[in-house]
Structure formats: C-alpha cells, structure tokens
C-alpha cells in the first residue's frame, strides 16, 4: 500500500491530511452541536468522546484502504504512456522516462518523445514517470496519461498521474495554506461552540427561574 503511494510526490499525503482534518471538523460539529441536530447527548467520559472523535477518520481511513486495495490488482499485460496534456511548444525539449523504485516491467520500445510502451510483469502497477528538460536543475511537470492493456480486473485501466519533479515543490507553502484554512474554520466553530454553550446555559437557567 505504502509502495503504491510513494512515488506520488507526497500530494496524496496532503490529500489524506485534508480528508482526516475534514472528518475531524465534521465530527467536532456533531459532537458539540449534536442537540441542534437532534442527536443523543454523549457521555461525559473522555474515553467515549475520544472514541467518537476518532470514529469518522477511522471510517474514512478504512474506505481509503479498501479503495487502495482494490486498485492494487494482479496485473499482467502491456500499456503505453502518452504525454498528452503538456503543450506542444514544450514537448520537443523533453524526454519521457520510466523511473523510480517501483518501475513496472521493462521498456519494450524506446520513447519517441510522445509515447513509451512498456510491459507489465509485476503485481504492483505503480508507475513513476519523469519528464526532464534541457534546462539544468529544472524539471518540468505536467499531466501524463497512462494506459494499461492486458489481464486486469477491468479491460482498460486509465489513470492520470500528475507529474512534478520540480526540486522546489513548495509543498510546505501548500500545506501551510490548507492548514490555515482548517485553523480558521476550527477557530470559528470553537468560537461558536462557546457562544452556544453560554446561550444554552442562560436559556436553561431562565426556564428554571420561570418554573419557580
């Protein structure tokens, strides 16, 4: 599973990070404002609360693992890689290579700059495709279409892999931006939850006073 995710330049990890935070966000809302939604009140035990909070990410994690397991098929066949989405004006200075720790099969035809045909002989279908330019130290990124044909669970598997080999990926900046999105949303909901608890307590005490 980890092998399947490794060559994807850490972007899937950022996706996973955001999904887990989103799940925690929804879990927090349901936990704090459960009575607004007519949900039963939770026990005050921290164990129950932690279990509840971890439930949503757990469900999503299980779904993710199921999807990843499903995609890790027993594969045998051949396929080809096409540089489809990169502008034609840049294509001439690129070479297409299959590279990485988990390269699938072996190249059976050389690249003509547009496509590379390869043979799949492994169970893993992870493919790492790198486009390189003639500018030293600078790799270009783009979108690459990968086609596989052969004995797969489906007749023709297609997926697009985003490519980037730019040394300064700036993933830290990307993580910061999305982190701040969640910090602001969580901060706002925490502010609301405090306000809500305060109002609920006042309303409860008003009801008690009027009953007296």
């Amino acid at each position: 599973m980890i092998m399947l995710m490794m060559p994807l330049n850490d972007i899937p990890y950022l996706f996973g990070f955001n999904i887990v935070i989103l799940a925690l966000f929804v879990g927090y809302i349901l936990w704090v404002f459960g009575d607004v939604y007519g949900l039963p009140k939770l026990s005050k035990s921290p164990f129950v609360k932690i279990s509840y909070l971890s439930l949503v990410p757990l469900v999503i994690l299980i779904c993710g693992l199921v999807i990843l397991s499903w995609s890790n098929l027993e594969n045998e066949g051949r396929g080809y890689v096409t540089l489809g989405e990169i502008g034609s004006d840049h294509r001439s200075d690129r070479d297409l290579n299959l590279r990485g720790d988990y390269v699938v099969g072996s190249l059976i035809e050389g690249s003509d700059g547009n496509s590379t045909v390869f043979e799949v002989t492994s169970d893993d279908i992870t493919i790492s495709v790198i486009t390189s330019s003639d500018i030293p130290g600078r790799f270009y990124s783009g979108k690459c279409n990968v086609f596989l044909e052969g004995e797969f669970n489906s007749d023709n598997i297609f997926w697009s892999e985003e490519l980037t080999c730019v040394p300064d990926d700036n993933l830290g900046y990307l993580l910061s931006a999305y982190g701040i999105l969640w910090i602001l949303l969580f901060g706002y909901m925490i502010f609301n939850s405090r306000k809500y608890r305060e109002l609920r307590d006042i309303l409860n005490s008003c009801t008690i006073v009027s009953d007296l």
Binding site: L30, V166, L174, A177, L184, L199, L203
Partner: protein, 224 residues
C-alpha cells in the same frame, strides 16, 4: 434536513479535496504550490458574496427594522472576515514562491485589505456600542457604504496594471490559458465553498436567533 445539509457539505468538500490533490494537473511553472489557487479564488468569491449579503441585509434592516435582517447581515459579515482573512493569508503564501515576495502594495491586494478592514469595522461598530439597536443601525449604514469597495476589488486587475493575475472567471475575465481540468476543479471548489458558506451562515443565523431569545428573556426578567 439540517444534518443532511452538513453531510452534503462534507461530501462536496471531500470530492473537492480529491479533485484538488489527485485529479487537477500540476501547473507547469509553479508546481504544486499552484493548488492554493483552489482555495484562494473560492475564498475571494465568498468574501464578495458575503459582502453582497451584508449590503442586502443592511438595506432590508433599515427599511423594515426587522431583527432577522440584522442577524443575516452580521452573520454574513463574520463569515466575510473569515474568508477575506483566508484570501489575505493564502495570497502571500502563494506569492512568496512565485513572485519572490510576501506582499506588495498592488491595487488588488490593497483594495482586498481595505475590504477586510471594512468587515472588521462593521463588527467593531457592533461590539463597541452599548445599545443593540443603535449598533444595528450604524453597522447597517457601514454595510451599505462599504459596498463601494467591491467593484474596486473586482475590477482592479483590469483597470490598473497590477502584479496580480488577471481575472480567470466571471465578468471581464479571460479564461485563456486555464487548463480545462483546472477550470472544472475551480468550479467545483466554488460550489463546495459556497455550500460551506451557506451552512455556516445558516448556523450563525440560528445562533443569533438564540441570542435574541436570550436577550428577550433577560429583558422580560428585568422588567418583571
């Protein structure tokens, strides 16, 4: 129904995250950091939308003096602050690796900062006044006057030579150069963020109604 809306928002945001990180192509020159675009632009859209609602709510409040319009406008203003802050923070985070600077006194950036200041002023007017009704009136006036800034923010990139990217969608935009997959992801992000905004707005208005109930109960208690 309420819980359904929350789950719809959660599902839309999950799909949006998938599109942003796993489906949208990586920009050739900027690399992965360009994916900030998919939260930066929708946040800016929500900042505009929220101020439009503040404007409408303020007009309606001054016309009818019904509390629900004031609640609506002030809830929109709070969310406007959140999303304008997001624009002002994600913008520099994106600018640093691409432009090489965190901030420049470019017209688009400056007018967006002014928008944020108007939002904050709107909320400060409300919080610093002892009289609730007076605060509502003053903030409604500010909500109406402040809308003048919106076209300045929006058209700044077309009216002046700015360092900021020109409009990629909406009136006066040139969509050339935006990859179709990127455009699809952007449109989906706009949908997901709009649904999040609608949910947050509904929730905040609900809390404000509860606040009104408490105020009413407290006033009745004091009268008795």
């Amino acid at each position: 129904m309420r819980i359904l809306l929350l789950f719809v928002v959660a599902i839309l945001l999950s799909i949006d995250m998938f599109l942003i990180f796993m489906w949208a192509p990586t920009e050739v020159h900027m690399g992965h950091v360009q994916r900030i675009f998919y939260i930066h632009v929708p946040s800016a859209w929500i900042a505009f939308l929220a101020f439009g609602l503040v404007f409408l709510g303020s007009i309606q409040y001054l016309r009818t003096r019904e509390q629900k319009w004031d609640n609506f406008a002030s809830a929109s203003a709070e969310l406007g602050v959140i999303f304008t802050t997001l624009v002002l923070v994600t913008g520099p985070i994106w600018a640093k690796p691409v432009w090489g600077i965190w901030w420049t006194w470019d017209v688009r950036l400056t007018t967006t900062l002014v928008l944020w200041l108007i939002y904050v002023s709107y909320l400060m007017v409300r919080s610093y006044s002892d009289n609730h009704y007076q605060a509502s009136r003053y903030s409604a006036v500010l909500g109406i006057i402040g809308v003048i800034n919106l076209p300045l923010v929006y058209f700044a990139v077309n009216w002046w030579n700015t360092q900021h990217q020109r409009l990629v969608l909406g009136i006066g935009s040139t969509e050339a150069g935006l990859d179709p997959d990127m455009r699809t992801t952007l449109y989906f992000s706009l949908l997901a963020f709009s649904s999040l905004f609608v949910w947050l707005l509904w929730f905040r208005v609900f809390l404000k109604k509860t606040e009104d109930m408490v105020r009413e109960n407290t006033r009745l208690g004091t009268d008795q």
